[in-house]
C-alpha cells in the first residue's frame, strides 16, 4: 500500500516585524543582536495564537480534500493555549470534522511536528486509519532584546497523510531520541531558558542531524544522489550551510531556513519548510526531512505524478506573499504582553465563559456552523429553532450549514475608538454571505481605510478574548478582506449609472467606455463607424466590437450606430439609453472628424462638416440627454475641446472653431444645469487616435495612450465631482487647468466722455494688461464688474481671484472665511473706511444681516467721517439685506457684489444707486 502525504497547507501571520526596528529600539542594550537583524520576522496579530494559526494551516491543507475521510487529527506545538483541555479537539471542532476520530496533542519538544507526522504515517501504514491530519504551530515567547526574539517567527503548517492520491510517498524514517537540554521551559513558566548556543551547534545540531540522516540512508539504501530536496531547520545560518555540506547536499538542494522572511517557527518549522519543498518538487523528486529537538526525526519521501495535480492552496508561498510589513516594535511588545499599558476601567468587564453554553453551541461558536432551512432554503446564522425568513418561520427545519469557507462581503462597517481594543480602532460590521446568511462580525487584519461596503471578505478563526483571571481563552470567527480585494475595489464607481459615449468605437471614446463599464456603469457605445473624414457610409463594426469587449469583461453595454451630426441621430442615441437602461446620467461628447485644410482651401462643405459633427453633434445629443438629466436632478456632461481650439493650429480653422464652440456651449450649459446638479466640463486631450495620427511623431504617438484620459474624464463624470464649467488639458500623465481670464481693464473718460482712438492708444498698456486677471463665471457678472470699478482690495491682490459663478469649493485658497464673524466686520468697518473717497458723500447704510451670526448695524458716512452703530437707523438712505454667510463671503472678496445682487443673495432697498458707493468707500480686501 502506498502511503504518504496527500495534501499540504501553511499559514504565516500577515504581520511582519522589521528586525531593524527591534534593533533600533533595543540595540543600545543588546548591540550584538545586529548580527541577526536582517529581514523580517512573522508576528501574530493580537488575536492569533498557536491554535488559530494551526486552524488556518489545516484549512489550507484541507482545500479540495474530503473532510469526512479524516480519521484523526494531531496537533503539535510547544505553545498550546491549554495544558489540559485537548487543543487538537478544539482544532477538530473548528474544522467541523467527524466525532468518531482520534485526536491528540504532541508537545514538549521542537521535534513534536515531525514526530507527529511520523506517528501519523505509521498509524496509517498500520491500517487502522485511512487518513490523519497533522498540524504543527508555534508562537514562542521571548524576552525583549535578545537573539531569540530575532530568530523566532510565528507560523504553522499542516499535512494530510493517507493512502489515496498520495503526492509524496513515504519511504521510511530513522529517529534518535536524546535528552539534550539546549533549552527548556518548566511547566508554568512563560519563557524558555537557554544554554550556550555554541554547545547547541557543536554537540547537537551537528551531531544528531547527520546521525539520523545517515541512519535513514543506510536503512533505505539511498544516497544524497537520491535526494533532490533537503529539509531541516537550524537557527544558525552558517551551521545550516555547514551541516548541508557535511551531508553532501549541494546548496541548490537545500531548502532555505527562512530567517529573512519569517523566522524559525518552532515545532512547525520543519513542516513549514517541507511545504516549501513540496511546492517546488517535481514528480520523482526525493525529499529528505529532518526535525530537530531533543534528538532528530529523519524521513524520506518521493514525490509522485499526483503532486502536479494538487488543487491550489496558499501554502508557504501564498502565506508569505500575504503580508503587511511593520516597524512598530512597541506594538509587538504590547501584543506579546511584554509591556502593560493602561487599559482603563472599561477593560475590567467580566469574562466568565459558561462551559455548558460553549458545549451546547460548540458547532456554532467554534465551527461557525449555522443553519439552512429545509423548507425555504435560507442559510442563516445562528441556527435557531424557528427559521428567520419572515415568509417561512417554520419550526425545527434547520439543517447544519457551514459558513467558514463561504465568500462574503461587507454590508456595513465602522472603526470604533471607544470599545476596548489593544489595536484601535475596533473594526466590525455586518457581513453578508454571497449565498445567503449574515451576521455582525469583528474584522481583523485590515485597516479602516480598506473597508468599503461591498468589499469581499473571508472568515478566519481567531482568539476572541483572554480571561486572565481564570486562564481561559475564547475563540470565534472574524472577517478579513480577501487578499488583494481592497486594491481591486476602486472607490469611484458608477454602479446604477447610465453613460453615453459618442465616438466610442475606437481611441479615446473606447477607452472611456471600457473603464466606465468596468466600474459598474451601463454604457451606450455610440459610433457611426465611418471614416476619419466623416464622408461615406457608416458601419456597426466598431461599436459592436467595443460592446463585445465590455461584455467579455463582465460589464453591461449596448451598441448604437446613429449619426450625431443630425438631430434625429441625437434623439435616437439618447432614446437607446432610455430603452436599454431607463435613462441617462453621464454623457461624454467625444465624436469628431477631421478635414484639415489651410484657410483659403477650406471650402464651405469642409467647414460645415466638421462643425456639424463636433459642435452640432454635441448639441444634438446633449439636448435630449439634458432633458433626462433635468428630470432626474442629476447629470454629468463632458465636452471634448482641443489645444487647436484653445490655442490655434495651422490648417484647422474649422476644427478650432468647432472645438472652441464647445467651450462656449459649456459656458452657458453649466449655468442652465447648475440647479439640477448637472455639471458640465471640458477636456482638451493630447492622445494617440485617428485624429492625431499624422500630427505627431511616431514615438510620441506611442506614449500618448488614450487610456491616460480615462482617469480625468471618469473623475469629471463621478458623483462627487464638484467642478463645473472648467477646461482641462490632459495627456500622458500631464494635467492642467486651462481658463479664459479677464484683466482688470480701465474705464476711460469717467464713463461719460467718449474716448477717442487717440485716448485708446494712449491708455493701451492699461487696457491690454492681464495683471490680476480673473476667471468670470457668467456674462452678467462679467459685464456688471466691467461697469462697476472693483473694490481696492480685489485689485490690490494682484493674483487670480475667483468671482462668483465658479464654485468656491475645490479652488485653492478658498477655504470658508470662518475665522472672522459679522460682528467683527462691523467693529472694524471704521478701519476700512477711506475718507479720501467720501468727499460730498452723505449717506446712511442700514445693514440687516440674517442668520445666527447676524444682526442690524447702521453705517453713517458724513463730512468725511464714518460712524458704525448697532441697531436700526430711523431713516437709512439704503438698506442692505444679506444672510450672514453670504455677507462674510462678500467682505472676503469671494462673492461679487453684483453677482450677489443678481442672484438674490443681496437685497437692496431705498436708494439702490448709493449702494454702489460701498465698494468705493470701504477697503475690505484681505
Amino acid at each position: 500500500m502506498t502511503i504518504g502525504i496527500q495534501s499540504y497547507g501553511a499559514y504565516i501571520p500577515r504581520l511582519r516585524l522589521s528586525r531593524a526596528a527591534i534593533f533600533q529600539a533595543m540595540g543600545w542594550f543588546a548591540p550584538a543582536t545586529i548580527m541577526v537583524a536582517q529581514g523580517e520576522r512573522s508576528m501574530c496579530n493580537h488575536d492569533e495564537d498557536s491554535l488559530t494559526m494551526a486552524v488556518a494551516a489545516a484549512r489550507d491543507c484541507l482545500r479540495g480534500m474530503d473532510k469526512q475521510k479524516v480519521d484523526g487529527s494531531y496537533l503539535a506545538s510547544t505553545t498550546l493555549p491549554f495544558s489540559d483541555r485537548q487543543n487538537a479537539g478544539i482544532l477538530k471542532t473548528a474544522l467541523n470534522l467527524r466525532d468518531d476520530m482520534i485526536t491528540a496533542d504532541f508537545t514538549s519538544s521542537l521535534r513534536a511536528g515531525t514526530t507527529g507526522l511520523l506517528t501519523a504515517l505509521e498509524v496509517v501504514r498500520g491500517g487502522s486509519r485511512r487518513s490523519i491530519l497533522v498540524t504543527a504551530a508555534d508562537k514562542r515567547e521571548t524576552r525583549p532584546a535578545y537573539f531569540y526574539e530575532m530568530w523566532f517567527g510565528d507560523g504553522a503548517a499542516s499535512l494530510l497523510v493517507g493512502s489515496e492520491e498520495v503526492i509524496a510517498e513515504f519511504k521510511g524514517s530513522h529517529t534518535v531520541s536524546y535528552d539534550f537540554v539546549d533549552h527548556y521551559r518548566g511547566a508554568g513558566k512563560a519563557y524558555d531558558y537557554m544554554w550556550e548556543e555554541r554547545w547547541l551547534r557543536e554537540e547537537a545540531y551537528s551531531k544528531f542531524i547527520p546521525e539520523a540522516v545517515e541512519g535513514l540512508m543506510k536503512r533505505l539504501g539511498i544516497t544524497m544522489d537520491d535526494v533532490q530536496k533537503v529539509v531541516f531547520p537550524c537557527l544558525f545560518k552558517a551551521e545550516h550551510k555547514a551541516i548541508a555540506k557535511l551531508l553532501g547536499a549541494a546548496p541548490e538542494k537545500v531548502i532555505d531556513q527562512m530567517h529573512e522572511v519569517c523566522g524559525e517557527t518552532g515545532a512547525a518549522h520543519p513542516l513549514l519548510m517541507l511545504v516549501a519543498a513540496l511546492e517546488q518538487a517535481k514528480p520523482g523528486d526525493g525529499i529528505l526531512l529532518a526535525g530537530f529537538g531533543q534528538g532528530c526525526d529523519a524521513l524520506y519521501f518521493r514525490a509522485t505524478e499526483a503532486i502536479a495535480k494538487l488543487a491550489t492552496r496558499a501554502g508557504f508561498k501564498g502565506s508569505l506573499e500575504n503580508k503587511k510589513s511593520i516597524d512598530n516594535y512597541m506594538k509587538f511588545l504590547k501584543f506579546r504582553n511584554l509591556i502593560d499599558p493602561e487599559m482603563g476601567i472599561r477593560a475590567e468587564a467580566p469574562t466568565q465563559t459558561a462551559m455548558t453554553v460553549l458545549w451546547r453551541k460548540r458547532k456554532m461558536l467554534t465551527g461557525l456552523v449555522g443553519g439552512r432551512c429545509r423548507d425555504c432554503g435560507t442559510p442563516q446564522y445562528p441556527k435557531m429553532d424557528i427559521c428567520v425568513n419572515p415568509k417561512c418561520n417554520h419550526v425545527d427545519t434547520q439543517e447544519d450549514y457551514e459558513f467558514a469557507d463561504r465568500t462574503a462581503r461587507i454590508k456595513t462597517f465602522t472603526g470604533d475608538l471607544l470599545s476596548v481594543s489593544v489595536d484601535p480602532p475596533n473594526i466590525y460590521g455586518m457581513v453578508q454571505f454571497d449565498e445567503g446568511g449574515r451576521f455582525m462580525a469583528d474584522f481583523t487584519d485590515c485597516e479602516l481605510s480598506d473597508c468599503r461596503v461591498g468589499l469581499p471578505v473571508k472568515m478566519v478563526f481567531r482568539r476572541r478574548f483572554t480571561d486572565n483571571e481564570r486562564g481561559f481563552a475564547g475563540y470565534f470567527w472574524k472577517a478579513t478582506p480577501q487578499p488583494g480585494a481592497a486594491a481591486a475595489l476602486p472607490e469611484i464607481r458608477f454602479d446604477g449609472r447610465v453613460a453615453i459615449v459618442t465616438g466610442a468605437g475606437a481611441g479615446l471614446g473606447r477607452a472611456y467606455a471600457l473603464e466606465l463599464a468596468k466600474r459598474g456603469a451601463k454604457v451606450v457605445v455610440n459610433d457611426y463607424g465611418g471614416p476619419r473624414d466623416g464622408a461615406g457610409e457608416g458601419s456597426s463594426a466598431p461599436a459592436d466590437k467595443v460592446v463585445e469587449e465590455i461584455r467579455a469583461a463582465g460589464g453591461e453595454a449596448v451598441a448604437n450606430y446613429d449619426n450625431v451630426a443630425i438631430p434625429e441621430g441625437g434623439e435616437k442615441i439618447v432614446g437607446s439609453a432610455i430603452q436599454a437602461f431607463g435613462g441617462v446620467d453621464i454623457l461624454v461628447n467625444n465624436a469628431g472628424i477631421l478635414r484639415d485644410k489651410s484657410f483659403l482651401k477650406m471650402d464651405p462643405e469642409n467647414w460645415q462638416a466638421v462643425l456639424s459633427v463636433h459642435l452640432g453633434g454635441a448639441y444634438n445629443v446633449t439636448r435630449p440627454a439634458f432633458a433626462q438629466m433635468r428630470e432626474k436632478g442629476y447629470g454629468r456632461i463632458v465636452m471634448t475641446t482641443s489645444a487647436a481650439g484653445l490655442y490655434g493650429n495651422f490648417g484647422q480653422t474649422n476644427y478650432s472653431a468647432a472645438k472652441m464652440g464647445l467651450v462656449g456651449f459649456m459656458n452657458t450649459l453649466k449655468l442652465e444645469g447648475a440647479k439640477y446638479n448637472i455639471k458640465v466640463n471640458t477636456i482638451a486631450p493630447m492622445a494617440a487616435s485617428r485624429l492625431t495620427q499624422d500630427v505627431m511623431p511616431p514615438d510620441m504617438f506611442e506614449q500618448l495612450k488614450p487610456e491616460f484620459l480615462s482617469g480625468i474624464v471618469l473623475y469629471l463624470c463621478s458623483e462627487n465631482c464638484d467642478q463645473t464649467g472648467e477646461i482641462f488639458n490632459a495627456g500622458a500623465g500631464f494635467y492642467s487647468r486651462a481658463a479664459l481670464q479677464t484683466g482688470p481693464g480701465a474705464i476711460l473718460g469717467g464713463g461719460e466722455q467718449i474716448p477717442t482712438p487717440e485716448d485708446i492708444r494712449d491708455q493701451w498698456a492699461k487696457i491690454d494688461n492681464l495683471g490680476g486677471a480673473r476667471v468670470l463665471g457668467d456674462a452678467n457678472t462679467a459685464i456688471m464688474s466691467f461697469l462697476t470699478p472693483p473694490s481696492p482690495g480685489q485689485a490690490a491682490a494682484g493674483s487670480v481671484v475667483e468671482a462668483a459663478g465658479t464654485p468656491a469649493e475645490g479652488t485653492p485658497g478658498s477655504g470658508a472665511p470662518e475665522t472672522f464673524d459679522v460682528k467683527t466686520v462691523f467693529a472694524r468697518m471704521p478701519e476700512a473706511f477711506r475718507p479720501d473717497k467720501a468727499a460730498g458723500v452723505n449717506v446712511i447704510f442700514q445693514f440687516s444681516i440674517s442668520g445666527p451670526g447676524g444682526g442690524d448695524w447702521s453705517v453713517a458716512v458724513k463730512d468725511g467721517t464714518c460712524k458704525v452703530e448697532a441697531g436700526k437707523a430711523s431713516a437709512p438712505t439704503t438698506t442692505i439685506k444679506m444672510a450672514d454667510g453670504d455677507f462674510l463671503q462678500l467682505i472676503a472678496g469671494k462673492l461679487d457684489g453684483m453677482q450677489a445682487y443678481s442672484s438674490g443673495k443681496l437685497k437692496v432697498e431705498g436708494d439702490i444707486m448709493k449702494s454702489q458707493l460701498i465698494g468705493k468707500l470701504f477697503a475690505f480686501g484681505k
Binding site: G344, I345, R346, A347, E348, A349, P350, T351, Q352, T353, A354, V357, L358, K361, M364, L365, T378, Q380, Y381, P382, M384, V388, N389, P390, K411, T412, F413, T414, D416, L417, L418, S419, V420, S421, P425, N426, Y428, G429, M430, Q432, G436, G437, R438, F439, M440, A441, D442, L448, C451, V453, G454, R464, F465, G474, F476, G496, E719, N720, E818, P852
Partner: protein, 402 residues
C-alpha cells in the same frame, strides 16, 4: 374588538429633573426630585396614586433589580409596582404600563417614573457589560460599543443612497448643531452651550464617522408622569388636557441581523411602529400633521434615518431635509425642541418620559423660550437596542378631544 388608546388617557401631571452629572444625587434622590414636581403639577396627594410603573435599565450600576427600590425611595404604601426595562425604550415602557392600567379601567390614577444613575461607573460612556451581556451572545457578538453599532447606519445609508461621506457628515453635523441650539434654551438640559458646525465637524472621532458631537452624553436624571382618565382629570379641575393619542411598540424578530434583505440603513421596527401609531392617532399625513417631535437621537445618524422611518422625509432624502433646516426649531417639523438626548441628556430609564414631558409642556404653552406656535400633535420616539436588533416605542400626545 380592540380600539386603541386614543383619547382614553390624559396626563394629569409631569415632572422632570435637571439632567446632567448629578454627583451629589443618587437615583433615590433623583426619583424624589422628579416625583415632587410631578405631584405638584398634578395637584393631588400621593395617596391618590393606585399603581406604579418603574423604568430602570442598568440596575447593576443603579438601584438593583425588582420594583422594590421605587417603593422604598418614594415610600409608596404597598402599591402594585412593576419594574420595566426595554433598553433605552424603558421610559416609554413605564408610561405604557401606567396608561394601559388606566385605560383598562383597572386603576383610576397611575404613576410612571423612570430614573438612571450612569455616573457611578468611574469612566465615560455606557458601562461595558462583558460576559454579563448574556452567556451566549457574549461568546460571539463583536466587541462593540453603542456608538460603533449605530455608526453602521452611516456606511449603509451612504452606500444605498449614494451620499458622499462629506455630505453625510455635514448632514449629521447639522442634526447636532440644531439640537445644541435648542438645548441652549433649556435650563434643565445637561448641555446648554450652542456649538458651531466647524466645531462639530472637526470633533474627534468616536466611531467612524461619528464624532464627539454626534453622540449623546451620559447623564443622570429622572422623569415622571401621573395619568388618569380625561373625566377624572376634569373633575380634578384640569382645563386644557393633554391626552395620549397613540402608544405603539415594535420589537425586532431577528430579521434585520439574520435574513438577507435589510440594507442596514434604517430601522425596520420604527417604520412599522410609526405607521401603527399614526393609525391609532388618526393621523394621515405625518409631514403635515406632526408639529413637533422628540426622537431618539442617541447618535445623530439615528435621528437622521428616523426622519425617514417616521415617514416624514422620503427615503434617501432625510439628509437634504436636515440640511435645509426642515427639522430646525424654526423649520417645518421641529425635532428635539428641548435639546434631545444629545443636550438634555440620556438617563436611560427616564428618557422616554422626558420626551413626553417636553411635548406636554409645549401643548400647554409652558415651554418658555422654546415655545412653538400652537402645536397640535407631539410625537416621541424612544429606541432601545441597536439598528440590527431593537425595540421601538412611539407615543403621540395632543390636546384632548372628546
Amino acid at each position: 374588538m380592540a380600539s386603541g388608546i386614543r383619547d382614553k388617557v390624559a396626563i394629569l401631571g409631569m415632572g422632570c429633573c435637571r439632567f446632567g452629572e448629578r454627583w451629589n444625587m443618587g437615583a433615590e434622590e433623583l426619583l424624589v426630585e422628579a416625583f415632587q414636581e410631578c405631584l405638584a403639577d398634578a395637584g393631588i396627594e400621593k395617596d391618590r396614586i393606585e399603581a406604579a410603573w418603574f423604568g430602570h435599565c442598568l440596575e447593576e450600576i443603579g438601584m438593583g433589580k425588582s420594583a422594590t427600590p421605587l417603593g422604598v425611595a418614594l415610600r409608596l404604601p404597598n402599591l402594585p409596582i412593576t419594574r420595566t426595562e426595554n433598553f433605552c425604550a424603558t421610559g416609554t415602557e413605564a408610561f405604557r404600563g401606567a396608561v394601559y392600567a388606566v385605560a383598562s379601567g383597572a386603576y383610576d390614577i397611575a404613576l410612571a417614573i423612570g430614573v438612571e444613575k450612569l455616573k457611578d461607573t468611574g469612566y465615560g460612556g455606557l458601562p461595558n457589560a462583558g460576559s454579563n451581556f448574556g452567556s451566549l451572545v457574549w461568546q460571539w457578538f463583536p466587541n462593540g460599543s453603542a456608538p460603533g453599532l449605530f455608526a453602521q447606519l452611516a456606511s449603509a445609508y451612504a452606500a444605498k443612497f449614494r451620499v458622499s461621506d462629506k455630505d453625510l457628515k455635514r448632514a449629521i453635523s447639522h442634526v447636532s448643531w440644531k439640537s445644541h441650539a435648542n438645548g441652549s434654551l433649556n435650563p434643565k438640559a445637561h448641555l446648554r452651550k450652542a456649538a458651531t458646525m466647524e466645531q462639530i465637524m472637526a470633533a474627534p472621532i468616536i466611531a467612524h464617522p461619528l464624532g464627539l458631537f454626534d453622540c449623546c452624553g451620559v447623564s443622570d436624571g429622572a422623569a415622571c408622569a401621573i395619568v388618569t382618565t380625561p373625566s377624572i382629570a376634569k373633575s380634578l379641575g384640569k382645563k386644557d388636557l393633554v391626552s395620549v393619542k397613540a402608544i405603539q411598540l415594535a420589537v425586532s424578530s431577528g430579521y434585520e441581523g439574520g435574513f438577507n434583505e435589510w440594507d442596514g440603513e434604517h430601522f425596520v421596527t420604527t417604520s412599522k411602529c410609526s405607521t401603527k401609531a399614526y393609525e391609532e392617532a388618526g393621523i394621515t399625513n405625518p409631514r403635515e400633521e406632526i408639529d413637533m417631535m422628540e426622537l431618539h437621537d442617541c447618535f445623530s445618524i439615528t435621528e437622521l434615518v428616523t426622519y425617514e422611518d417616521l415617514h416624514i422625509s422620503e427615503r434617501g432624502h432625510a439628509w437634504k431635509d436636515a440640511l435645509d433646516g426642515f427639522y430646525d426649531r424654526d423649520g417645518k417639523v421641529p425635532a428635539q425642541v428641548d435639546g434631545g438626548l444629545k443636550c438634555f441628556g440620556h438617563p436611560i430609564g427616564a428618557s422616554g418620559l422626558r420626551m413626553i414631558y417636553e411635548m406636554y409642556l409645549q401643548l400647554l404653552g409652558r415651554a418658555g423660550e422654546r415655545q412653538l406656535n400652537n402645536p397640535r400633535y407631539g410625537l416621541t420616539h424612544n429606541l432601545g437596542g441597536f439598528p440590527h436588533q431593537n425595540v421601538c416605542a412611539i407615543s403621540i400626545v395632543g390636546r384632548y378631544k372628546n
